[in-house]
Amino acid sequence: MAGYLVGVDVGGTFTDFVSYNGETRKIEVWKNLSTPSDPNDGILKGLGRFEDPASIRNIRLGTTIATNAILERKGAVVAYVTTDGFRDVPFIQRGNRRGHYDITWVKAKPLVKRRHSYEVNERVMADGSVSEPLDEAGVREIAAAIKAEPEIEAVAVNLLFSYVTPDHEQRVREIFAEEIPDLPVSISYDVLPKWKEYERASTTIADAYVKPIVSSHVNRLRERIANAGITEQIVIIKSNGGEMTLEAAARSPIQMTVSGPTGGVIAGRQIASLVDIKDLVTLDMGGTSTDCAAIVGGRENFTTDFDIEFGLPIQIPMIDIRTIGAGGGSIGWIDKGGMLRVGPESAGAMPGPACYGRGGERATVTDANVVLGRINPENFLGGDMGLDVEAAHAAMAQLADALGRSKDETALAIIQIANNNMVGALRTVLVERGLDPRDFTLCGFGGAGPLHVADLMVEAGIPSGLVPNYPGQFSAFGFIMTDARVDAQRTIQLTSNNFDLDRANQALTLLVESGISDLNKQGYTERLQVTRSVELRYAGQNYELEVPIATESLDAAGAKAVWQSFHDLHQARFGFNIPGEVIEVITLKATVVSLAEKPELPEIETGGETPEPVSVRRVVFEDGEHETPIYDRSTLTSGQTIAGPAVVEEPVSVTVLRPEQRMTIDPWGNLLIGEIAGGA
């Protein structure tokens, strides 16, 4: 394939770029500062690196524009239209508090005003029957009322039980298209056809809320890219790790809420397949937060369970990534009772850790790594940014005095506590899902991930570790390996003792067709791969387990096998099952993927068994200080072995190897640690 494939990850501080040349198989990475006032500036600046813009064949973009619009409350003025009697649902929410005993808690405000909420006479019942027809004249009156409010920029429609019978919602959209054609309309059946009216309202309102801003952003991007003579082949990464066209993004912007972090998981999956590992857990540790996700049997997990802030759910299909507020910038502090704590407060990018020398005076995890000799102050960001070692020591000394310990002990304690927080995140994606850490390989990336992989393997009981190439731009790297993906789902109420095979098969067929047609409309017509599954629970429970359906349609024997899989899964996941109990079918799902060509990753040179260290320095580990050899990652070759303790440096990151650990370099340059490297 000729031309460049380019992955772009627009983050809060940096915009990362990864390019792959299909002819030479060469990969290049670079980054420049993000431009929050108009993210397109940063994107275009980075793309300016190509001398011939026409040589860019395909751009895949991950962006936080939708998330930021919500978090910063900078979205559109939305009108909310719902069933008569229920306009207060977004304000009432679910009623539980963020935590106990916290009298300071303030409930989240919805992304809509009550004065912009409208009620329409209609009613669909739980079984899908219509008990009150849609009052079309009333809908036209609402349209007129919306028109009379010039500040309204988008409309969200959420009618009760629309996930069973969507006719009323669809008709409301048709009427609005006639009456208020200039306003974008989001209907809940399109956004989230699942039960629970508040969660669906919140998600649908969020979709409408970000629609105008995302539309104008992608329109400007399309225009600027065209003006610059760059390819029209530009797509945006969805929260489910699939890609979609700019048009699809403007139509359904809520799909890109968790766009950025998915890249690391996709890249992790590809690396796992390359290295032939089935079960991998990713650890993407940055300055303020850490993301974890599990890849099981070569596949990532998906979820719809996500709150953008406490009380504001956004339940779209997304890669199941757990985020905790702990990163390199997390601050160590002593609470009133003298207990050392780390985070959740972070020094962020400004002032940053004390060692950044920008006025930060409080010791962070990064400062602890500097004090312990794990980060080389001369080689931070490839030497582009000198570190103020004295400031790191001064900040640590303050804490150490208060604790009555040495600086080294205090720094080790900060690392230990931060690591324990991350072990907690790893537990939520592994142990809490019934997955055994002993089957996994820990893949660490992000600026700070490689520093902590070795310790975390030990703390979390994960025998193997892996630090991939380009750990600092790994998400953008993942974007050059995505496929187009549509997750179609629908709530359907059936039970195992009264299972209507025809109805289930019909619904499945419709879902598959809608997924294929969605992809076709976006121009993806080749290498389509369809998977089907069903969400089940015991009649009476309220949470489901997902069971795959292996065949195109179900027959009696197939259904029986599905019930048995559910009993087995329940036993594995929760430690018990209830044989003979009626099983409820809640949601049918179909996923359609259009497989893209994947880059063939280049291999590195082979040679020499033991690499030469570039220097030796004092590094502190739990068992004391060691004169530790330091290696330059760019000089390592395939097949080499390193015995710990050791430190491997590269421009954006540092990998630490504990004294008892062993590392090998694989043919593609991945650093393998522990069992996978033939060691402890």
Binding site: F86, R97, R114, R115, N420
Partner: protein, 572 residues
């Protein structure tokens, strides 16, 4: 107190957060596998770890009303089943309010944790089973006059022995309730929760070794104790008093006083309930476990929320609760409402008592009722009995820095409301509307939170309903010059009628807010309005922009803005 210099603050901090994560994982298993909506949607349960002596060592943030009851629960269990009769794989079930329990629906499952033959502690789940037999479907019999009306009493008995189900116990439990299939599922979920707790805590103990683990847990309790003592020390010594009332008990038309005197003495506090009314005939009485729990709850709200929550917090607190009163009921009086209705008013009064000295850590009264509506009937298709326990949300009180949150669960619970679409799918009732109640937030510089109103209609079958609620007459109090919150109410409209009647009028009951076994036939409707929160500070001092926004949003009417806040604002 152990010597602070020998405390390993790092390992202690790590063990604390790991145990909290274990409790959270227990809760997730419980939520995902349980059957009743009160568990899986409302999250009315709690998951804790206790040490060998029954002291609470870790908890996750589910339902707080149960936390303070843990020490008493473990103590009463091991009184009847001595520790040397416990073996690995045993699970004890218990619900008896007169044996350290909180109220009859609350079932406690306790699993001893043995590591290499040594008893190291207990994993516990406590959850509200919707149906436990008794005179009404759903246990909240507003007109009960003895505990036997309220359902089956379960003294501490083993429901599993050495990992095997004790069939006789299961049979007895399931034969005495209207919804055996649901109770089976919920009990299985509660057991799955203690199983996870046992496995995970065993891993933690093995990782650190028994001695290190126990030393750090002891240090952790001491640590919480010293933090709590520092908080109390900072409050000026003195006696701080407050009172609230339970408006009636469902049997007699008279109110019951809750008297709270908080004595701060150096770094300790005594919470004395002397002056509280004698116990009621009806089911609003609090057991000793509830009165302890409520005092702890109030104090924890008024102190630093970052203190690790364990028995150490409770050591500097003493509770005086004279027997035979509303707050320390004698056998065999009924008590099912004490845990939901009386607890929050006790905790609110503790907070109210301290508002003069801790203005930034306290708030005006919240609704302080869960509006408990329980109902049952028979499914017209399957013939299976159904029973539902539905809670409603009320307004929080205003604070010195913010309005009260609207539509929030009272502070002795942390329940979620059941979604309309889940409710109607499960039960043959239609929710006709679900709204905020304008002007229900008590006026104030910071107003109280708004309450809610829900209207339900029975669709196909006779529904037998009962309610346990309060604040139909006795409004949530405002403070520092703030106004009272809006009143609650329950109204019934017959299919054939057009008037909304209070339940006393419609059915000849003594109380509007506490009643049993009312029939809601097909086409009949019932409406529940919850109380709003009290206001904080003089309404005349309310910031004009906030008031204008309230009027634009319809949270405050132009009339109230003019009459109470003294500002003319036009609604749009």
């Amino acid at each position: 107190m152990s010597d602070q210099s020998q405390v390993d603050m790092v390992t202690m901090s790590i063990i604390d957060s790991t145990m909290t994560a274990v409790c959270r994982e227990m809760g997730i298993v419980l939520m995902k596998t349980s059957y009743s909506t009160i568990f899986n949607e409302a999250l009315d349960f709690t998951c804790v770890l206790a040490n060998r002596d029954g002291e609470l060592i870790a908890q996750a943030e589910f339902c707080p009303s149960m936390i303070g009851g843990v020490p008493l629960l473990v103590r009463s269990c091991v009184q009847e089943i001595p520790v040397d009769e416990l073996e690995p794989g045993d699970v004890i079930v218990h619900n008896d309010p007169y044996r350290g329990g909180l109220h009859s629906p609350e079932h406690t499952l306790i699993k001893p944790i043995f590591v290499d033959g040594d008893l190291m502690g207990f994993a516990m789940t406590i959850g509200h089973l919707v149906e436990i037999g008794g005179m009404v479907p759903g246990a909240f019999a507003g007109e009960a006059t003895e505990i036997f009306h309220e359902g089956i009493r379960v003294p501490p008995v083993k429901i599993k022995k050495a990992g095997k189900d004790v069939e006789e116990v299961w049979k007895l439990l399931l034969a005495n309730v209207r919804t055996p299939r649901y109770n089976y599922g919920d009990l299985r979920a509660l057991i799955a929760g203690v199983d996870v707790g046992e496995r995970r805590l065993t891993d933690v103990i093995r990782k650190y070794g028994k001695a290190v683990f126990e030393k750090n847990v002891a240090d952790l309790l001491d640590y919480s104790e010293s933090r709590m003592r520092a908080e109390l020390e900072a409050i000026p010594d003195g006696k701080y008093s407050f009172e609230d009332h339970v408006e009636d008990d469902g049997i007699e038309n008279r109110s019951y006083k809750i008297a709270v005197n908080v004595h701060i003495q150096g770094d300790e506090a005594v919470i004395d309930y002397t002056g509280t009314s004698p116990q009621a005939k009806g089911p609003v009485n609090a057991t000793l476990g509830v009165s302890y729990s409520a005092a702890y709850n109030g104090i924890l709200h008024a102190t630093d929320p970052s203190i690790p929550k364990n028995s150490g917090c409770f050591r500097p607190l003493r509770i005086v609760s004279p027997p035979g009163t509303l707050l320390n009921v004698d056998y065999p009086a009924p008590e099912v409402g004490g845990n939901t209705e009386t607890h929050c008013k006790i905790a609110g009064a503790v907070i109210g008592a301290l508002t003069g000295v801790l203005p930034d850590r306290t708030m005006a009264a919240e609704g302080a009722t869960h509006t408990n509506f329980v109902f049952g009937g028979q499914d017209s298709d399957s013939g299976e009995a159904f029973v539902c326990y539905a809670i409603e949300l009320s307004g929080w009180g205003g604070r010195s820095f913010a309005d009260g949150n609207s539509a929030t669960d009272s502070i002795n619970g942390n329940c979620r409301v059941i979604p309309v679409e889940v409710f109607e799918t499960r039960f043959p009732m239609q929710c006709e509307s679900y709204k905020l109640v304008p002007d229900s937030g008590g006026a104030g510089k910071f107003r109280g939170g708004l309450s809610t109103q829900r209207t339900l209609k029975s669709l196909k079958v006779d529904i037998t309903g009962s309610q346990m609620s309060d604040r139909h007459h006795n409004a949530a109090w405002g403070i520092h010059g703030g106004g009272e919150g809006g009143l609650a109410g329950t109204w019934f409209k017959a299919a054939s009628g057009s008037d909304w009647l209070t339940i006393d009028k419609a059915f000849g009951k003594v109380s509007q807010s506490k009643w049993s076994n009312v029939t809601i036939g097909p086409g009949d409707s019932i409406r529940f309005q919850t109380p709003g929160g009290g206001g904080w500070g003089d309404p005349k001092e309310r910031d004009r922009e906030s008031l204008e926004e309230d009027v634009r949003e319809g949270f405050v009417s132009p009339k109230i803005a003019r009459d109470v806040y003294g500002v003319s604002v036009e609604a749009e």
